[in-house]
Symmetry: C2
Subunit: 321 residues, 2 copies
């Protein structure tokens, strides 16, 4: 395989990297402070004008399980939808799917963990039960004309079981596709993936799946998020989840990182010449409003340090040397 | 160029990646809180038992310019030197070199910026004046039997001038080598490099320089530090600076990152199968002592999140599902 990213030869151009913004869902879901419905809507409306083609705007999970996102209906009904933007909703079960479809979600995202133990911890059922429950959701969504995506959580590692066998992940991807689910997300739910593992698994999955159907979801828990993106991109992946400000993860571990940070990813792409279609200055302005909205600092670094290409005025004393 | 890192084919083995630990110098130099000489010595002694072959242990700069490191002599004289570890000192001028040699530094590291503006801001002189001053230092060091390294600061970008012309960097590397300086460091002083640029410049420099003589020094200012390491490694670089805890950078910007974090880098290498010879659990224990020593949180992530390979106990409720 030739390296297209790190190559010392100039490539004529890079393929576009598509970013799905997930802060309104995967970012806000674990925030301890309630974010007002109007603020969620304003955030999504702001994101809708930055050039994204996909935004995961909320979830339709039990309000007892995730109170932070209990206003999913109001959010989906009141956002200003931009043409060309797909608004995605995470749904855990048929009831959630019905709610999401009523609220006019464009795409439903289903989740099951590759790890039995993690699926039991997260979904309170076995993987077999999860898969069986997907059947009704898929039928209902297709009948309603909605798009479908399904996520393989803990695809690169489970905090309880450790490394996940690749064949198991491939098997789940196949099962999803056989059910009629078009989009597949491989999620590194707790930030355990490394670039070499990512390159290998992505290459295997893309033997059977078109790149347009595959999303990679990385967390930056151990600082490897952007390196994993480059490894996946080099293996042919083109769609990535990322969260404004790097929101997500665990809010009770100060300094611990959540999702890969959207503006840090777009800055990387801008610097490397990989087109994203996303307006970085607009995104940075939105990100810089997050600490006031959430009441705490966020992990994203470019919003603090500025873009690579931003230069500073020369100090006066230097002019005199 | 074939990708050796992200390749989907299994490589028989990776070459060793050599980490030079720089926390005692580049990390501590900007700490606002005074770190006692005994604590510096204890830190370096601890690092000396982790498997490093190179530690930048201090600098011999004017105590007025960098008061945090004004005890360089005492540190170098009192540390317990381990066989096989090279203890490096940063020196800005001939006076600093004399002090470092008296204190038995094994290697002197000289610094000049590729950017004229940055060199004037940092060293208060032009690049030409810096280079001219190196001559005496080199002669003195070689006469004393010390090793020599010289750093090209702002090699990938200057906060005042922006992108630096590659030919200029190559010209400085050539000038260093012609003076008799064996080791060369390319430093991304303010975290402006991107992986593509790194791969290209490293490949060019290694056309004339053996990999054993080249060190890369990255900051994680915009979250690209480890991605830049992989790009450089893939282009043939094998030696990297890193700081315990990710110390360095600007202590007045909370959350902004400094040097790439040693334990995060070693964790990445362990996961990818790149040997470093460094004992990660020992390193993590040292890193976890930094917040108490410095009075603030540090950017390193693996010390907070644990290694990728650490698994957690399964919650009781899961066993009952």
């Amino acid at each position: 395989m030739n390296s297209t990213i790190f190559s010392t030869r100039e490539a004529a151009s890079f393929d576009q990297l598509i970013v799905q913004e997930v802060a309104p869902r995967d970012g806000l879901q674990i925030e301890p402070t309630w974010v007002e419905t109007a603020d969620k809507i304003a955030l999504i409306n702001g994101l809708s004008t930055c050039g994204f083609t996909r935004i995961e705007a909320g979830s339709f999970v039990s309000p007892k399980a995730i109170p932070a996102l209990r206003d999913g209906e109001a959010v989906f009904q009141q956002i200003e939808r931009q043409a060309g933007v797909i608004y995605v909703a995470l749904v855990p079960n048929l009831k959630g799917a019905e709610r999401a479809l009523s609220a006019r979600a464009d795409e439903l995202n289903l989740v099951m963990s590759a790890s039995q133990t993690h699926n039991r911890a997260n979904m309170r059922m076995s993987c077999e039960s999860s898969l069986a429950a997907f059947d009704d959701i898929v039928r209902r969504a297709l009948a309603a004309g909605a798009r479908l995506n399904a996520t393989v959580a803990t695809a690169f590692g489970c905090p309880f079981e450790g490394r996940i066998d690749e064949d198991r992940v491939i098997g789940i991807v196949d099962a999803y596709r056989e059910m009629g689910i078009e989009g597949i997300t491989l999620a590194d739910t707790t930030g355990m993936a490394n670039p070499r593992q990512v390159a290998r698994l992505v290459a295997r999955v893309l033997e059977a799946l078109p790149a347009a159907a595959l999303t990679l979801h990385f967390h930056n828990t151990r600082g490897l998020g952007l390196a994993n993106v480059l490894a996946a991109y080099e293996s042919g992946a083109r769609r990535f989840d990322a969260a404004l400000g790097g929101l997500g993860g665990c809010p009770f571990a100060p300094g611990a990182s959540g999702n890969i940070c959207t503006e840090d990813l777009v800055n990387l792409c801008d610097e490397m010449g990989i087109p994203t279609g996303i307006d970085l200055p607009k995104l940075l302005a939105l990100s810089r409003g997050l600490p006031a909205l959430l009441g705490h600092d966020v992990p994203g670094q470019v919003a603090k340090a500025g873009r690579n290409c931003d230069v500073h005025p020369v100090p006066d004393y230097v002019r005199q040397i």
